[in-house]
Amino acid sequence: MIKYDELEVGYKFSPISYELTSSIISKYEEAIEAHSSIGNSIPPLAVAAYAMKAISQSIQLPPGSVHVSQELEFFKPVAVGSHINCQAQITQKTKRAKLNMMVIEINTFDQNKEKVLSGKATLILTDSG
């Protein structure tokens, strides 16, 4: 697990893969109180949420980190059971007083190597000391 202080702009996370199984998506839909399922498609934010989970498991962030902005773009519906591959990179890292800001860009692809979602998350992290 890489520490926040060791991350540099341009750092590329190891490619991450995960499967969006029906049990994972059922739990997710219950948590977000989803009422808008379309056929076998999953809520698009689930792809991003599980990508962020996978990224967070490979870096050690200070406790209390918070999201300040988010951009997302969806390219195609994702079916339950899809295998997702995610590429992620640190594109900005700045420090002001005791606040650190980090931008992570992600691109996700399905099992057919077709892009399904891209995004940019900006996080504020308290000083890890």
Partner: protein, 159 residues
């Protein structure tokens, strides 16, 4: 849930998107944390969160965005899943007892390359009408189907 068709000619700039209210609770935040595996203490550890500038636990930003995405899916159906764009800023945290209103309106409708492009203002506010999130959402709906036939309606989901 049922689907209904709506004529493109019946959709106008200024139309409101389907507003919803979600009552947050620590139990719901914990449920989301378990679902996505994000146990950041600012969300789930009340004693830790009480010592931070927020003074208590706050909901995951991605949970609030999921509510906005839900609204866009209700309004635009599958087109949101395949062409949606969202850009938002978190203005203040959603606290564990907040009643969050998710709302939006169509800002403009333009025609480009045989598509209708919808640009929407979206946001969330709490029970004190304080803005939690605001931003823009865009979605594109084709004016012809895969056979080249002209479309006059799009699907909208009715809860």
């Amino acid at each position: 849930m049922t689907f209904s068709d709506i004529k493109f000619s019946d959709i106008h700039a200024g139309d409101a998107l389907p507003e919803t209210v979600k009552q947050l609770s620590q139990e719901k935040i914990n449920l989301y944390a378990e679902a996505v595996g994000d146990f950041n203490p600012i969300h789930v550890d009340e004693s830790f969160a009480a010592q931070t500038a927020f003074g208590g636990t706050i909901a995951h930003g991605m949970l609030i965005l999921a509510y906005i995405s839900e609204m866009m899916t209700l309004a635009f159906g599958e087109s949101w899943l395949s062409t949606g764009k969202l850009a938002i800023r978190f203005k203040r945290p959603a606290r564990s007892r907040d009643a969050v209103t998710i709302s939006g309106k169509i800002n403009s409708i333009t025609i480009e390359s045989n598509n209708l492009n919808f640009s929407c203002d979206v946001g969330c506010s709490n029970q004190n009408q304080e803005i939690i999130v605001d931003g823009k959402a865009m979605v594109r709906i084709p004016l012809t189907n895969s056979k080249g036939e002209h479309l006059e309606r799009c699907h909208r989901i009715k809860k």
